[in-house]
Symmetry: C2
């Protein structure tokens, strides 16, 4: 990861510290920001093209008001994957990683090294487990699929967000 | 600041790093979290007890959903000032520093050393200037009061939040 390039391009001469320390500080800063504004999400959508009739899509996203989008841009450069897109109905901008490869190679190792401190950490732990199951094609087996559904149903409860799928709908 | 004590009490053995580095990582994490969830605010309220008919109250606050309040508790221990209170109308909890002394001795030096990266940084710079004027009793002079009003009117525009006072009301 091009920490120094990121720091320089964003004029982050802010930390009056050696370059070697800047790397850690920026990483930790981004974890702190993600603790507040980020989301580890497993979305399920009906699909006739996928086994058991459901597509499982893990994603990591961080949103912010457009007028202070600086950290969103840094996240995109830092993780070297994902994309940035405008919020549909509001004045926000969102950094999002949907590819399993990007999640496994960049996002998960980052949060292993610079962990989330709040209860959102539990979401990350479940999220990581699900991504690992998918890495090994476990979601294509009935046992693996059921395990994922069980874990996904326990996620994102702390923020009071509405679940995007109804567990009762999922029958395999 | 009792960084190590804070890390230990919160079981933040998370960062697999030397103790000396933990201190910096936690500090940077808290700045990242505050970048997303924090607010540097100058509120003005009508008061017959104050010069020019207005009380000027600077405050730094960070809010979060009650179910993931861990970072709020850490902020309180880290800054060694302010207080934590429940949100009135929602399911949030808020860490807030209102005392000028706490802002000058703890909050401002922290964000000088571990700066906000997003455009919220502009709010912090104005906030700091206002607190410095108040430290030297400048708000008790007409010039100082006017200067504060001018700066406060430029704050918190990036988040689209509503200003809590109407500049037209303020006539001195």
């Amino acid at each position: 990861m091009r920490y120094n390039a990121v720091c320089e391009s964003k004029n982050l001469s802010l930390y009056n510290t050696p370059v070697s320390l800047k790397k850690y500080l920026l990483s930790s800063y981004l974890s702190g920001f993600s603790d507040g504004e980020g989301c580890f999400c497993i979305s399920l959508s009906k699909s006739t093209r996928h086994r058991f009739g459901w597509e499982i899509r893990p994603s990591f996203s961080v949103s912010q008001n457009k007028n202070r989008r600086e950290v969103i841009d840094i996240l995109y450069e830092y993780f070297e994957c994902g994309n940035i897109r405008d919020g549909i109905s509001d004045n926000t901008v969102k950094f999002e990683v949907r590819s399993l490869s990007g999640l496994l190679k960049k996002v998960i190792p980052h949060f292993d090294q610079y962990p989330i401190i709040s209860a959102k950490r539990k979401d990350f732990i479940l999220f990581k487990k699900i991504c690992m199951i998918m890495k090994h094609q476990g979601h294509l087996t009935e046992a693996g699929f059921r395990k994922i559904i069980g874990m996904a149903s326990k996620m994102n409860k702390s923020g009071g967000s509405k679940r995007k799928f109804n567990l009762l709908e999922i029958k395999i």
